[in-house]
């Protein structure tokens, strides 16, 4: 059994851990509110963008000459997967949920004999994937320096993807991120961005007849790269809200566990203290009796 001094030391150490996790929880809660707000504010832009593209692509009659970003390169041999994670740890299952989803998809691609390329955004994803998929990782981007998610970072990633696509380095691009539902639930998502896949049903017949200035394909050529950056930006916003939410609940759990631990240790400490006193008393009494 541990001595009284050891127990006392352990209690203080658990207590200070609890203080740290509590503080981290508070910080995450404050950051969460901001991140959630900006994720919600960012939604109209990506939705509108998506609707316009949907309208445009329906107005294109000549599907074969449609821009490649929309229609794809006609093959699906090389897959690029963009795995978006956080730069910091201590946020529960946030990063491993994404990589788990990504890994199962990687397996599917590799099993069907296709080529796999991986780009990671955020250093935690890179750390988790480099062991098993090192030779597939072609890019590792991290935005540790920028405090808040901003559009220009997303644009950088988007431009990188488009550049690679235009060079013919891949045929299909998929992004992985966590969608923020609420503080306790974040859903890992897989979204294909090249070629653009409309997940809504195609039977929307109320498509408006638009006037285009300049021509449809010219607008599309201009719009599609922007849409990619927008989708990435949306994913980054959702991710940052999810990260904070995940961290908050993880730290909440940690604080509670530490509390339980302190309670248990305190009881143990008191019991052994009591036992020591009893032992001493017995010694004194039996000493007195023998006289």
């Amino acid at each position: 059994m541990a001595s009284l001094d050891d127990l006392k030391k352990r209690i203080t150490s658990v207590k200070s851990t609890q203080k740290i996790t509590k503080a981290m929880k508070m910080v995450a809660a404050a950051k969460l509110r901001k991140a959630q707000e900006s994720a919600e504010k960012g939604r109209p832009y990506s939705e509108k963008m998506y609707n316009i593209i949907l309208n445009l692509s329906k107005n294109i009659n000549d599907k074969e000459n449609a821009p490649k970003l929309l229609a794809g390169s006609g093959k699906d041999n090389v897959h690029l997967c963009v795995v978006m994670t956080s730069d910091r740890g201590l946020c529960g299952g946030f990063n491993s949920n994404i990589t788990k989803k990504a890994k199962s998809y990687f397996k599917k691609i590799l099993d069907s004999g296709k080529e796999l390329k991986i780009a990671t955004v955020g250093s935690k994803g890179f750390d988790q994937l480099k062991r098993a998929y090192k030779e597939h990782i072609i890019e590792n981007i991290s935005f540790k320096e920028s405090k808040n998610v901003n559009y220009f970072d997303a644009d950088k990633v988007g431009k990188m993807i488009i550049e690679k696509f235009e060079k013919g380095e891949f045929d299909v691009c998929t992004i992985f991120f966590n969608k923020f539902k609420n503080v306790i639930t974040q859903i890992p998502q897989k979204q294909q961005i090249i070629p653009l896949k409309s997940d809504k049903s195609e039977n929307k017949n109320d498509v408006m007849n638009y006037e285009f200035e300049p021509e449809e394909d010219e607008i599309l050529n201009n719009l599609l790269p922007k849409n990619i950056s927008t989708q990435i930006f949306k994913a980054m916003l959702e991710n940052s809200a999810s990260e904070q939410g995940s961290r908050m609940s993880a730290m909440d759990n940690a604080t509670r566990n530490a509390g339980e631990m302190v309670e248990k240790l305190t009881i143990e400490y008191n019991r052994s203290r009591q036992a020591a006193i009893t032992k001493e008393l017995i010694e004194i009494i039996s000493g007195a009796e023998s006289l």
Partner: protein, 130 residues
């Protein structure tokens, strides 16, 4: 007012402006400035750097946009742009740094014609504001 329509301006970060009593909007469309009144035909177009003028009653609001897409249908106009600033709030320092940025971009020899045009357009507009 019967001859007014809705206007929504969104940038990636947020809904920048939402008005429902706009009488006219002038946008710097790629092929020339375009004035939009109520019951305009449905149109999609994209913008070059310039000034968006929003007329509400007797008030005129002027906003600098860097790029964007506009969509007009059923009397509601949406403007999507990556960078938008109210002219009244623009600062001299920001202006000069933006001009420098555009000038830097122009120095790139591999720039295609369209990007070159956009950058020079940007310098033009910013210089006029300065």
């Amino acid at each position: 007012m019967s001859d007014s329509f809705n206007l929504e301006i969104v940038n990636p970060e947020k809904l920048f402006l939402s008005l429902d009593n706009v009488s006219e909007v002038v946008v710097p469309a790629f092929e020339g400035d375009m004035g939009i009144l109520k019951d305009h035909i449905s149109i999609i177009s994209f913008l070059k750097p310039g000034i968006v003028k929003v007329f509400t009653g007797n008030e005129v609001k002027e906003l600098y946009v860097e790029d964007g897409i506009i969509e007009f249908s059923e009397n509601s106009l949406s403007i999507l742009t990556s960078r938008i600033i109210d002219i009244k709030e623009i600062k001299k320092d920001d202006l000069s740094s933006m001009i420098n940025e555009a000038n830097e971009a122009l120095k790139d020899e591999n720039l295609d014609d369209q990007k070159r045009f956009i950058a020079s357009q940007k310098i033009d507009v910013l210089n006029r504001l300065n």
